[in-house]
Symmetry: C2
Subunit: 352 residues, 2 copies
Amino acid sequence: MTAESTSGTSRQPAVRRAPARRVSMADVARLAGVSAQTVSRVSNGHPSVVGSTREQVLDAMRRLGYRPNSAARALKYGEFRTIGVILFTLSSVGNSRTLEAIVDHAAHEGYAITLIPVAVPTQDGVLGAFTRLGELAVDAVIVIMEVHLLDAATMTLPLGIPAVIVDSNGGDRYTVVDTDQADGTRQAVRHLLDLGHRTVWHVAGPEDSYAAERRAETWRATLTEAGLPVPAMARGDWSADSGYRAGLALADEPGCTAVFAANDQMALGLLRAFHEKGKVVPRDVSVVGFDDITDATSFIPPLTTVHQDFTEVGRHCVERVLRQVHHRRTKPGTTLVPTRLVVRSSTAPPPA
Amino acid sequence: MTAESTSGTSRQPAVRRAPARRVSMADVARLAGVSAQTVSRVSNGHPSVVGSTREQVLDAMRRLGYRPNSAARALKYGEFRTIGVILFTLSSVGNSRTLEAIVDHAAHEGYAITLIPVAVPTQDGVLGAFTRLGELAVDAVIVIMEVHLLDAATMTLPLGIPAVIVDSNGGDRYTVVDTDQADGTRQAVRHLLDLGHRTVWHVAGPEDSYAAERRAETWRATLTEAGLPVPAMARGDWSADSGYRAGLALADEPGCTAVFAANDQMALGLLRAFHEKGKVVPRDVSVVGFDDITDATSFIPPLTTVHQDFTEVGRHCVERVLRQVHHRRTKPGTTLVPTRLVVRSSTAPPPA
DNA sequence: GCGCTGGTTGTTTGCGTAAACATCGATCAG
DNA sequence: CTGATCGATGTTTACGCAAACAACCAGCGC
């Protein structure tokens, strides 16, 4: 899934070896001395099979190690009860928590999840994922894309399959589910301003992330609306280390008393940088994060942050995509999942 | 996947609605005025289709929104090119990193990954997952189970499907891949002893985790071998918060100058507890973690920890399971992935 | 002109399963 | 004793695709 380790095109050439003829119903039927249909009935727990026959069949199944062929089943039923999830990386906490919520909720609805990694975060990579989609055993797709790759050209591709996009701005053409980035950011910035800070610095996420852009925009807008100066923005890559580097610079910035980091991991880096520079959080500088990862309660000090409800995001994704699967036409549109500020110990009024 | 949000049995009753008759090759063939076989050839990029015909077919495909039916394909080819991964939770960093590595490597081999969540971490839950396995479109399984549920009774079930287990002790009966827990632990404890500490305290993971048990055992053994006293062991649940609680107690322990935490997140909690209790790490207490999560470099202070090579674990899983898929029959056995200690700033000689 | 070659397209067939329908035998009411 | 009924089981068929084979048509050398 990471760019280094995978190449979409390096996929093995489709050498179709002679399929290793597995045990089929016919084999079981032969051994048990019954018809294939009876085996099918036993396999599906159909009632009208007499006990002794059932036992014979079960015994034959065991002896042969029979396993029903889900391809044949799916072919008959016309569905896989599986949802594909297209994503680029699992290393961000947000992605992995969203995925977990999706898996949870899908399981609850009787659906499994197939992961479709995007080899490289380029249009080609996304295209490749959509192509592979056709070969995969899925009834619908959820796209978790935190990068600017879903423009009109690319996204017109996956025709004919129910799809939901997480974290994008294509709400007019597609079904989109997202955290309410703007509201969360506004709460974070307002919280710092309400404490009395003259302005708020920002450590943004990478440029190619919609979420990062949305948070940066809203940070800027909130300051501007309040008639406050907008300080220079630092740019990180979501990692704690990038937050640390940004923090070393900010620590030397004279009037910097409040920083809003675009995620908790960068906030962690900030805390370390300030600590090393001898600045005490929150006495000298206040720090707010975004995500509310579980570890945030154990930062030094425990982090004030914007709580994202990943569970809710996952639930909405599954619900909306399954609604499409079941032919209940839905119109495109965005579902925003609300956020809330969790105040812990990393924020305080500015030093006197 | 978490116990609260999912119940394996709540799966929708298998109401088999009339399958939504999707566009098939025959439909495309009819519109394009060719045979189904020609559509198949175009669909698979077979060379011997003349340009004009190809265009007609492609056009018909577009107009009808044709999407090849992977069930039929899989039925013909006898394989799905998909590996199932059975796991209980994604919330542990280890699981999610291992999964990512598996996804990466599987994609590299042209395989997709289907997640099979275990509803509840009981034998029934695992059993349910294995049952669902039969209905799923997978060629093999990788089991990521950090709990004691794979005993003989349960594990005899998934007969006839290639399988690899991560993080278990069933190496004699199954193919197992694991991090070398023992060696990693030994390195951690020896490092602290070599620095001059009189003994090493331990904050263990939950009892139902093999990994946690292995680390605890080895910690104990290493101390015993060195002829040192074995202090009382604290028990956490992998979370930073549980580490914090353990740390509050350890901070009051008189001779406690070195602590080995069974994972980095608990180590994070320890750092906070010591900080709040006025103990300076590493001057007053040394702390070592396990995992080497990326954030560990940004803890205060940066954490000395045992590096686990999740990528390598994932790679071995995929390799070994695919070997079973292709060459049929490999003997069981355990593959141990080596660890290495990464020394950062959370360890030092004991106070004089 | 004839048959041959090679490239393009069509036809037949079967993958494993389960619904629909057919059959068979036993039981039972009249 | 007969025929209706019903439960257990077997037979046929179709799901969508692609391999194997067949058919067809050009162009070519002789």
